[in-house]
């Protein structure tokens, strides 16, 4: 079942010359883990804004075509209604935390939805645990490091329990280990809670193994759309300057020499390791 469906979506910011999204069509199935990637300025953030209605309700501008999110046409529903179904974690963690304590921040969305206090406390605790930040509950957001803030931002969206979780470069402030942990948390939400995940990410090395579906954008258009191994292994993706996993790149180089015989393109170091070991033994 398609949970997101875009048809010839074209959007131009007010006073902009060129459209930020240009004739974009794609489908995302329920429960998928989607990675959205592409060079800087290609329109990833703009697409995220469409998913919860910030475009067109907050940004105005000109929207053509159609996008259905959870069967809602975003044009007909206010942002706060879409926000119940689509949680969006923004690129900059600092400017999405407003409260004076972490727990209050995580509760913010639930307060807006009028969730009763008792349930709210449970959901806040649960979200803090999922994000691995129980110990920060009473700290002030501005005292936290960028990575910790990013986790708080994620927890505050998790608490709202949306069907679709959209994360716009959630690891931009993190070291590789921190990024790995975040991906693990997101992967778990996708697996065990069946949340549909749309992750905007440049670090495909760490994220690729969770993906069921990769979409590559370029200059406001969809350049490639399909299964991770196929998309990541294509020359087109590499030519766009997308940082494909090193394992995949190594595979391509070795494969030119026909040194490896594998039916499956590796996307992680582990997979590549196995492949090389197999080849050496043969």
């Amino acid at each position: 079942m398609a949970i997101v469906k875009a048809q010839s979506l074209t959007y131009t910011y007010p006073n902009a010359e060129k459209p930020a999204l240009d004739d974009v069509s794609f489908e995302i199935q329920k429960g998928e883990f989607v990675i959205l990637t592409g060079p800087s300025g290609c329109g990833k953030t703009s697409l995220c804004r469409c998913l919860n209605g910030l475009i067109p309700h907050f940004y105005q501008g000109e929207l053509k075509g159609k996008i259905l999110v959870n069967k809602y046409n975003i044009v007909d529903h206010p942002i706060h209604e879409l926000a119940k179904h689509v949680g969006l974690v923004f690129q900059n963690p600092e400017n999405q935390l407003f409260a004076l304590s972490v727990e209050k921040d995580v509760a913010f969305g639930l307060e807006n939805l009028g969730i009763p206090r008792k349930e709210m406390i449970e959901r806040v605790d649960c979200a803090l645990k999922t994000a691995g930040i129980e110990d920060l509950a009473e700290r002030a957001p501005h005292e936290l490091s960028g990575g910790q803030q990013q986790r708080v931002a994620i927890a505050s969206i998790i608490a709202m329990n949306p069907e679709i979780l959209v994360l716009d470069e959630p690891t931009s402030f993190l070291d590789p280990l921190g990024a790995k942990r975040i991906f693990k948390v997101i992967g778990k939400l996708n697996e065990s809670m069946d949340m549909t995940v749309i992750l905007v990410e440049h670090r495909l090395d760490l994220a690729a193994k969770y993906a069921d579906h990769v979409i590559v954008m370029d200059k406001g258009k969809i350049a490639l759309d399909g299964k991770p191994r196929k998309v990541l292994n294509s020359d087109e993706t590499r030519m766009l300057g997308v940082g494909i996993p090193k394992a995949t790149r190594l595979y391509q180089l070795l494969d030119e020499e026909k040194a490896l015989h594998s039916r499956q393109v590796p996307v992680t170091a582990d997979e590549m390791g196995k492949l090389v070991r197999g080849a050496l033994r043969a």
Binding site: N52, L54, H57, F58, I79, H80, E81, A83, K84, G87, L88, F90, N92, E94, N95, Q96, L97, F98, A99, L100, S101, E103, K104, A107, F108, G109, L110, E111, N112, L113, G114, I115, P116, R117, M120, I121, V124, E138, A140, P141, H142, S156, I157, M160
Partner: protein
């Protein structure tokens, strides 16, 4: 060092910090009323001493002393003008009573600063926002208040960064006369304002994404419940008020100089 330094909140857990902020405010109000009905040094001194146990219970002595030191400048101005006024009024002579009156006015100010600093030193901005909400002030204002408090340190840090960056480009802030110095700050202010605007747009976006305005009556993670100590403080506040008013009307207050036999 400013008066405001002494009002900065620091997280401590003490019985005073746990009190309901509304009741603490009631207490501040009753101290305020009592302080302004007296013109004599003795009761104002008592009022000042009366609050010291609160400071000790709250374990904020250091900050409290700092707030008093911050207030010292204003206090000496109050003392000075009162003395001057009395001096001229009485035909260029000064009695012990005049000095006592000026001291009383100063003590009144200090007692007020003391009660306000106890309030602000022991009430987290969170609690303050909550108290505002529970006092039926529209939520938008309470939200604006807590968000402003939240972003003060962020903006301060940003201002420092911009200043450093502009200094590195050769901007000299401390140069020239008064007007010139103010003009020097323009290259700092403009980026600061632009960044604040950008920040506020991003904040608005993030609020929308978390269902801001979904329903009329939002709920709250925290609740304020009156506990034993809160009721106790209500009693103390009423007691202070009644004693204060009673003494004002039915007891003749000796001056300190009489008492000491001048």
């Amino acid at each position: 060092m400013s008066v405001f330094d002494g009002l900065k909140f620091r997280r401590v857990s003490s019985p005073i910090h746990m009190l309901d902020p509304r009741i603490k405010f009631l207490y501040v109000c009753s101290i305020f009323v009592v302080a302004i009905v007296f013109f004599e040094l003795l009761p104002l001194l008592v009022l000042f001493l009366f609050q010291i146990p609160f400071v000790i219970l709250a374990r904020v002595q250091r900050e409290w002393v700092r707030s008093l030191r911050g207030a010292a400048f204003l206090a000496s101005i109050i003392f000075g003008t009162n003395i001057l006024f009395r001096f001229m009024y009485a035909g260029y002579s000064l009695t012990a009573n005049d000095i006592e009156y000026a001291s009383a006015m100063t003590m009144r100010f200090i007692a007020l600063v003391e009660s306000f600093s106890i309030f602000f030193l022991t009430t987290s901005p969170d609690h303050l926002g909550l108290a505002l909400e529970k006092s039926h002030i529209p939520y938008e204002f309470c939200f604006a208040f807590t968000t402003a408090v939240r972003f003060v340190p962020v903006l301060a840090e940003e201002a420092q960064t911009i200043m450093d960056a502009q200094k590195a480009r050769g901007l000299e802030l401390e140069k020239g006369n008064f007007l010139k110095r103010i003009r020097n700050y323009i290259p700092v202010l403009i980026p600061l304002i632009i960044s604040a605007i950008r920040r506020s747009l991003e904040l608005a976006e993030a609020m929308e994404a978390r269902a801001w305005g979904a329903i009329e009556k939002r709920t709250n993670l925290y609740s304020l419940k009156m506990k034993r100590n809160d009721y106790l403080l209500v009693l103390v506040s009423i007691f202070v008020l009644i004693i204060g008013i009673f003494v004002r009307f039915y007891v003749s207050i000796p001056t300190l100089s009489n008492l000491l036999g001048f």
